[in-house]
């Protein structure tokens, strides 16, 4: 968060109750950032009534007492944007956690402020404009190698007027030194600030047509999400939300990943922090951290910062979108964010809406997801922000307000299922409840880039799984043996779809990432088994013999093969041979 030294006004604390503090004698606007108490704890103005200003404080308020000063900076909550945001781990108000650790040790103390990016560090600036060029807001004036993967584009801030470039400063500079000066006196530096609650401007929003490849079969294969799309992952605890989110952060083919751990477990964030630097981005071959920024506001960190971390994250995502990158943002979990809103709201004694959540819950959720999309940036490039939000419904009940309000907005729904998780079917995405409304607009891409019959194969799989679902109801009543042979065979095929195709082992070195080509191969291999088995059945082969050929169970092993093409080819030949030998 930016350090603002200017103090526009000073007031006095009138009362303290948890994270909510009221002050008197303070002139302030809504959402101004203030420093509270002798220790200067950061807070934000959330209500103004007469002379009384109500503030949510982003740090613990123990020991703070009435009479202590409150200083207003007169500026809204902003993030620092510039090179150095990637490969960094922040708390909910964009303080780098490693800087905090240096300053206060292993336990988070309070009253320490730090800019979001290192203002002293210098970067090698290569201009792409020269004196005499005319630039407008959003235009690129030069680039900086931010990480091994990402070239950081230095943009004319959206709130500038623009004009003719009169001076360009090549070479090493700190982020606060001007790298380009315009004729109206505006100085472009590598450092920008932007208020988190305000979306960064863009030219236009398009319909997304390209998939965000996740490397997860059930997602790419059955319920794809578009680059610039939105998705929700609701599920009860233990159903694998976090692993699913982390898989997306690791393997999705976005240029930039913003991962927000909002009110989640400390050890989980540590896992991400430890794992990501060692993992390789499948697209570039560079360390994953080189394209990632993490925001970690664990469940025991102050609740107000949990409310703000979602905004911090999306603003960073928009910044890289403006450079023309495809950004994927994972928020785990949006329910904790909603609960933080509820907690603050109840301290303000606002009239509660459904489930005790504030009446503006739906509006806030919609505003957040609406900041996703495929955009034309101010300078006419394309960039996108895809948003995947985990939802943690109390008791796994999807009818609760956060899930319902989210589903009204997002277009992809990956419903996690406790029963699947209990039988260790992972990812536990329920194939009958989940949906993707992007399917049709993404089909042309899959047809062109993976296989021309991709939509047909997918539909075949969906049909078989649907049929299984119906048959299972009968089986529950009469037993499998009572079914006619062809239906028993369908159940057998469906089982392979579930075990060989839908299930995927996130902890297996090979299986953790399944490129779309492999996803397609597995599907067609099962389809081959299906066709050959039904042919054998029609030719009079007994069902018991068909379902017990020893090649078929090897379908389950395709997923873990590195050289899968050859394996699939041999396996298909063998299945065909064994089945044809039966008649």
């Amino acid at each position: 968060m930016s350090q603002t030294d200017t103090v526009t006004d000073t007031g006095e604390i009138a009362s303290v109750s948890g994270p909510v503090v009221t002050a008197t004698g303070l002139t302030a606007q809504m959402n101004d950032v203030v420093y509270v108490g002798d220790e200067g704890l950061m807070g934000e103005v959330i209500e103004i009534e007469g002379d009384t200003t109500t503030i949510q404080v982003y740090e613990e308020t123990s020991g703070i007492s009435p009479g202590q000063p409150v200083e207003n900076t007169g500026e809204p909550l902003t993030v620092d944007l510039g090179p150095g945001v990637l490969d960094t781990i922040y708390d909910g108000v964009q303080r780098p956690l490693d800087v905090l650790e240096d300053e206060m040790g292993a336990f988070l103390d309070r009253g320490v402020d730090s800019p979001g990016i290192d203002l002293e560090a210098s970067w090698d600036f290569s201009p792409t404009v020269s004196a005499g060029d005319v630039v407008e807001p959003g235009d690129v004036v030069g680039t900086v190698p931010e990480t091994v993967s990402i070239e950081h584009k230095v943009l004319v801030p959206p709130d500038f007027e623009g004009g003719e470039v009169v001076e360009v400063n090549d070479g090493e500079h700190t982020v606060t030194e001007p790298v380009a000066v315009l004729d109206n006196g505006e100085e472009v530096t590598m450092h920008q600030e932007w208020p988190v609650r305000q979306a960064r401007p863009s030219e236009e929003k398009f319909t997304p047509t390209e998939p965000l490849i996740t490397g997860q079969r059930v997602q790419d294969g059955l319920f794809p999400i578009a680059k610039g799309g939105t998705a929700a992952i609701p599920g009860p605890f233990g159903s694998g939300k976090t692993v699913t989110q982390q898989q997306l952060a690791k393997w999705s083919d976005a240029d930039i990943v913003v991962y927000i751990g909002c009110g989640e477990r400390g050890n989980e964030m540590t896992e991400v922090i430890e794992d990501f630097p060692d993992l390789t981005d499948p697209k570039s071959g560079n360390p994953l951290m080189a394209r990632t920024t993490l925001i970690a506001n664990t469940s025991n960190m102050p609740v107000a910062a949990r409310e703000s971390c979602i905004y911090t994250g999306i603003t960073i995502a928009e910044f890289y979108r403006d450079m023309g990158y495809d950004v994927a943002l994972m928020a785990d979990s949006t329910s904790r964010w909603a609960e933080a809103m509820r907690e603050i709201s109840s301290r303000l004694e606002e009239m509660p809406g459904e489930g005790g959540y504030p009446a503006y819950l739906a509006a806030r959720l919609a505003q957040f997801y609406e900041r996703a999309g495929r955009f034309e940036t101010l300078r006419g490039e394309e960039g996108s922000v895809s948003v995947v939000g985990a939802v943690s419904p109390p008791g796994g009940d999807f009818s609760e307000p956060v899930t319902q309000n989210t589903l009204r907005i997002v277009k992809t729904f990956w419903a996690l299922d406790a029963d699947l998780a209990e039988s260790r079917h992972f990812p536990s995405i329920n194939w009958t409840e989940s949906y993707s409304l992007y399917k049709d607009q993404l089909d042309p891409w899959f047809e062109e880039n993976v296989a021309p019959d991709w939509p047909e194969e997918r539909q075949w799989a969906v049909d078989v799984l649907d049929e299984e679902d119906e048959l299972q109801e009968i089986v529950q009543l009469v037993g499998r043996d009572a079914l006619p042979d062809d239906q028993r065979l369908t159940l057998d095929v469906a089982r392979y779809l579930r075990e060989a195709f839908l299930q995927q082992d996130a902890f297996h070195d090979v299986d953790t990432f399944s490129p779309p080509e492999k996803t397609y191969e597995i599907l067609t291999a099962i389809h081959t088994y299906n066709d050959e088995a039904f042919a054998a059945l029609e030719a009079g082969a007994p069902i018991e013999e068909i379902t017990s050929i020893d090649a078929a169970p090897r379908l389950n092993r395709i997923a873990t093969q590195e050289e899968y093409e050859e394996y699939v080819e041999e396996l298909e030949a063998e299945i065909t041979e064994q089945l044809q030998a039966l008649y």
Binding site: G63, F237, N300, V303, E339, D481, P553
Partner: protein
């Protein structure tokens, strides 16, 4: 220190006092009743002319004539290594008749959050000697793994078995490192009888020497329960990160803790959340549960086993629900298994350990561990489904394969899970027994296990319906 005799309102556990100086939020307060009794409390809300105080020891005897002293600091606990072997009440006063505690340090009981960058990811296997845990829901050092129980289920026995048996296998531990745990035990609102059960076992096994016990009994003031776990965790953190102990913290019963939170919330007339529990209960519980883990460059660790009883056996009740969203898994006890006499009655299907994957495998437990565990889960889940079917159509209607799955489920409960509260199995035993029961299934059903391990460990014969070999059970 100024003394006030300006109490304006007493309501349940809350006292409102008029003040003429600024009082800090969370500060500690002493209230002296006219009869000379001193009660402690904490500032819940502070404004220019009044403060709201929650009184730990109950408000009996507090009236407008009581005097109130503000101590000018937040609640602190004296900590020292000498706490080991001591029994304290819910507010941290010794009740074992032992000597006065001479503190090395006084620590704020509201611990600060650990910076995620300073944590070390927990991945050291803890052997509890219980197959259902070690084999399928493995616990690691620095994890927080609650036991979800319900009234009438033997959660205390299970917690004691863990406390007795938990150790780190020597080849996993660093050289010369202590493989046993120090235990910090916090009882909140438990009955004297339950407390005795724990104390007797601690004394009998000699574990007391390595334990610190905090007891808030059922007839102790409810509000005191909100500080008891914080005291216990402050002690645990001190022992772990200052003195280098590996600490196992048992908190029982979290349901009583949450009831106390609700009581305070109701007294303050707060807008209630689900089922009347305060809206900030998630944050509050997180501030307890998150005080577990390891720190980079520090010897010790804090492992947490909170116990809670699910009202009405309902795991969607706010207490287990919010807990499950914070902790790294849960061990679920099953009423049905308990009535079948399975000891410990761990229902493995809804149980989970999120940190298991990094704590097991080659060089730690055994290379086949992960596959075996997945297979047990998958096949047992299928077996349970089939049981429902058998109730309708009878076993005869099932084919041979399904019958084997049923046999497996039977053997799994009877041999793998039901080991008794006094059997300590090492992880090799656990995995061998797992293979015994898995070998009932046909070989090609074992799709979760790598082929090389099936070759190595599978003992069944595909043509024979079941493996009847009894597994050796060392009942102690």
């Amino acid at each position: 220190m100024k003394e006030y005799q300006t109490i304006t309102e007493v309501s349940g556990p809350l006292v409102y006092v008029e003040t003429d100086e600024p009082i800090g939020y969370d500060e500690i307060v002493e209230i002296e009743t006219p009869s000379g009794e001193v009660k402690r409390g904490q500032v819940l809300e502070t404004a220019e002319s009044y403060v709201a105080i929650q009184v730990f020891e109950g408000t009996e005897g507090v009236g407008q004539d009581a005097s109130v002293r503000f101590l000018g600091e937040t609640l602190k606990l004296p900590v020292t290594e000498d706490l080991l072997g001591r029994v304290l009440d819910g507010s941290g006063n010794p009740i074992d008749g032992g000597p006065e505690i001479v503190p090395d340090e006084r620590r704020d009981i509201v611990g600060a959050a650990i910076n995620p960058t300073a944590r070390e990811y927990p991945e050291e296997f803890i052997q509890t000697g219980i197959s259902a845990i070690d084999g399928m829901n493995t616990l690691v050092r620095g994890q927080k793994l609650p036991i979800f129980s319900a009234s009438g289920l033997p959660h205390s026995e299970l917690a004691l078995q863990i406390a007795r048996q938990a150790s780190v296998p020597e080849d996993v531990a660093d050289e010369g490192e202590e493989t046993e745990f120090a235990v910090v035990f916090a009882g909140m609102g438990i009955t004297q009888e339950e407390a005795n059960e724990f104390m007797d076992d601690f004394e009998r096994t000699g574990a007391l020497e390595r334990s610190v016990v905090f007891l808030n009994l059922a007839d102790d003031p409810a509000v005191e329960r909100t500080v008891t776990p914080r005291m216990a965790l402050t002690t645990a953190e001190y022992l772990a990160f200052e003195e280098g102990y590996h600490v196992l913290t048992i908190l029982t019963d979290m349901t009583n803790y949450c009831e106390a939170l609700r009581e305070i919330g109701a007294a303050r007339e707060e807008v209630p959340g689900r089922r009347g529990y305060p809206g900030y209960m998630y944050t509050d519980l997180a501030q307890l549960y998150e005080r577990a883990g390891r720190l980079q460059g520090e010897e010790g660790s804090v492992t947490q086993i909170p116990i809670l009883t699910m009202p009405g056996d309902d795991d969607t009740h706010p207490i287990p629900d919010l807990t499950g969203y914070i902790t790294e898994g849960q061990i679920m006890l099953g009423r049905e298994l308990n009535s079948q006499g399975v000891e410990p009655p761990i229902d493995v299907l809804p149980s989970l350990s999120r940190l298991m994957d990094d704590g097991i495998g080659e060089g730690v437990t055994r290379a086949d561990h992960s596959g075996v565990s997945d297979q047990l889960f998958a096949s047992y889940a299928e077996g349970k489904d089939l049981r429902d079917l058998v109730n309708i159509v009878g076993r005869e209607a099932l084919d041979e394969r399904d019958n084997k799955v049923l046999d497996f489920a039977e053997a799994f409960e009877g041999e793998f899970v039901d080991q008794g509260f006094h059997t300590n199995r090492d992880v090799e035993d656990t995995l061998d027994i797992a293979w015994d029961v898995l070998s009932i299934l046909p070989k090609n059903e074992l799709s979760r296990i790598d082929e090389e391990f099936i070759e190595e460990y599978y003992e069944g014969d595909e043509s024979v319906a079941g493996d009847e070999t009894e597994t050796e059970e060392a009942e102690a």
